[in-house]
Amino acid sequence: MLKEWFTEGIPIADWTESVTDFITETFEFIFDPIKEHFGSFMEFTSDSLTSIPPVIVIVLVALIAFFVSGKKLGLTAFSIVGLWLIHNQGLWEHLMDTFTLVLLASLLSVIIGVPVGILMSKSKTTEAIIKPILDFMQTMPAFVYLIPAVAFFGIGMVPGVFASLIFATPPTVRFTNLGIRQVSKELVEASEAFGSTGMQKLIKVELPMAKATIMAGINQTVMLALSMVVTASMIGAPGLGREVLSALQRAQVGTGFVAGIGIVILAIIIDRFTQSANSKE
């Protein structure tokens, strides 16, 4: 047996394939409803967003920008001009699709990432187990897990979210873990000395103290989710990413550039918004 492996090589690829097949078949009853319901939910979200007149969206975003930036005009002006430009280039619908993808992928990342980060901060063993998994998730090229994503969820937005999730969740997990571990030991002791339960300690002391760090992680997560939109478009996720991809396939520099600019504008707005949630207070 061992000798064969020397000559023939270990069939890791075959194994992976059969494991994926096995998962696909066994958990079909889970994947299928997710594909269906989550898929239609996403479509609904993006349709609803698209149905709002662009002018109203632009005004709303501008207003939010005005207040989160501390009543400065820079970000407000940028939001108005940027969004108007995207609309002007006929990319409004794609923008909404991309936004939906980023929003849901980020939300899921945070919902999964924060609790995992908390678990990780509470035990060295958990940390030791999860850390290499996070490394794996972040360094494995994204294209590789597009394949099982398609196997599980078909093509479209849902596998796109799945792929973004894998790629974008680690920062939230890591920063939550780090933030909680960095809370001053004396504060934790104080909360324990007064007889807090573990949950009280977490909610009243650790999370508020770690908030800034966790928010920095969430900001990273959102940015990574956004950076996945082009990759996700390869498995049929709609949006600005698909425009970039099709431009690439047809070697249309101009179209690609315009769609790319759209992504950049969205990225800047989202980044400033999530950062200001952090710096406030």
Binding site: S184, F194, G195, V205
Partner: protein, 399 residues
């Protein structure tokens, strides 16, 4: 029954705790055990009792295990061995739920670097202990405000801790601990981070608070002056072990070993100050003029239980106690000399402090200070300790 009783409390940090314990039994030192097992002995078989209403000071240099010991008292650190009784219940054997209950109801803690929650206001910080016990909002605000009033911070309820000075922050820390109305206050180097003047104020206030609230206080410090000022009894720690427990006087007078002695030597004020510096103006009666009634009246006025008796030249003749005087009045004895006691201790005006100790120790009545037989002052025991602990107003007692 003592409120706190520690029996052989031991903490070994590191993996080979069991082996380290065995080596401790064999009498190896902390360093030897560290070399052999890689484990650090934090606290080595500490046993002591703390009575209700007492200020018990645990003193030692950094690394002596005092901070570990205080955390063994409320089990912020799990003991490796030993028992920690509070009101007779063994804390070391409690489950999490019981332990929380004890921490909430019986043990308050004040931290060296205040450990205030920066995101909460002064009031919210003070409410913390009540909040986690789910005390209704209004009631906890009321209790917290009362606690803040006690420490003189009622005007700062809505400030954030970082807007306050160090001394004020620690008052919040103290109020937070008091708001729960715990039976025992654990104070871990609570005043060490404050500058000397503020520290002294806080010490005075703590003594005041203690005398009105009758809390039991376990106070950790590395500062002998502080220990002497605050402590009813002091436990001295070295290398994780308690080397001596005693009243300030016992420790100053009979240092248990070289280590304690070296500590005590630092209090070299005892060699500079003399009786003159710490004596007070004495209340006296004149044996040639006054009877028991005057003596009793003067004692009542001054609030003392004995009074020195002199003749017209202020030569010391002895003293009269309040009990004797009232007995004499009852029996219609008019002559003061019948109740005059002469077993009084006296020192010369220029006797150095360290000698005064040996003379004054154990004596229930004040010691007389004389100059050429004439009475010039008295020394009460408290003044000796206070002087050693660096009371600045020592000089002003100079009559």
């Amino acid at each position: 029954m003592p409120i706190i009783e520690a029996k052989n409390l031991t903490k070994v940090f590191g993996k080979n705790a069991k082996q380290a314990l065995e080596l401790l039994d064999k009498g190896l030192t902390k360093e030897e055990i560290l070399k052999k097992t890689g484990s650090t002995v934090g606290v080595n078989r500490a046993s002591f009792t703390v009575e209700e209403g007492e200020i018990f000071v645990i003193m030692g240099l950094s690394g002596s295990g005092k901070s570990t010991l205080v955390r063994l008292i409320n089990r912020l650190i799990e003991p490796t061995e030993g028992n920690m009784y509070i009101n007779g219940q063994d804390l070391a054997k409690m489950d999490k739920q019981q332990l929380r209950q004890v921490r909430r109801e019986k043990l308050g803690m004040v931290f060296q670097r205040f450990a205030l929650f920066p995101n909460r206001t002064v009031l919210q910080n003070t409410e913390y202990g009540l909040e986690i016990q789910k005390v209704p909002k209004e009631e906890r605000a009321k209790k917290a405000t009362e606690a803040l009033k006690l420490v003189g911070l009622e005007g700062y309820l809505d400030q954030k801790p970082d807007q306050l000075s160090g001394g004020m922050q620690q008052r919040v820390g103290l109020a937070r601990a008091l708001a729960n109305d715990p039976e025992v206050l654990l104070m871990d180097e609570a005043f060490s981070a404050l500058d000397p003047l503020i520290r002294k104020d806080m010490q005075d206030e703590l003594i005041d608070l203690q005398s009105t609230m009758k809390k039991t206080i376990i106070f950790i410090t590395h500062d002998l002056d502080e220990a002497l000022r605050l402590g009813d009894r002091i436990a001295l720690m070295k290398d994780g072990s308690i080397v001596q427990i005693g009243t300030p006087e016992e420790i100053l007078m009979n240092p248990a070993n070289d280590y304690v002695e070296r500590f005590v030597e630092d209090v070299d004020r005892s060699k500079i100050l003399t009786a003159e510096h710490i004596m007070k103006r004495p209340e006296t009666i004149n044996v040639e003029k006054h009877g028991p009634r005057v003596a009793l009246e003067r004692m009542k006025e001054a609030g003392i239980s004995s009074i020195l008796a002199v003749d017209s030249k202020r030569n010391l003749k002895g003293y009269v106690t309040a009990d004797d005087a009232s007995e004499a009045i009852k029996n219609d004895v008019r002559d003061i000399s019948e109740i005059l006691r002469t077993d009084i201790k006296q020192v010369e005006k220029d006797t150095p402090m360290n000698e005064i100790f040996t003379i004054i120790n154990g004596s229930p009545i004040p010691t007389a200070v004389v100059e050429n037989e004439r009475l010039v002052g008295i020394i009460v025991r408290g003044a000796v300790i206070a002087a050693l602990a660096g009371e600045s107003e020592v000089e002003s007692h100079h009559a």
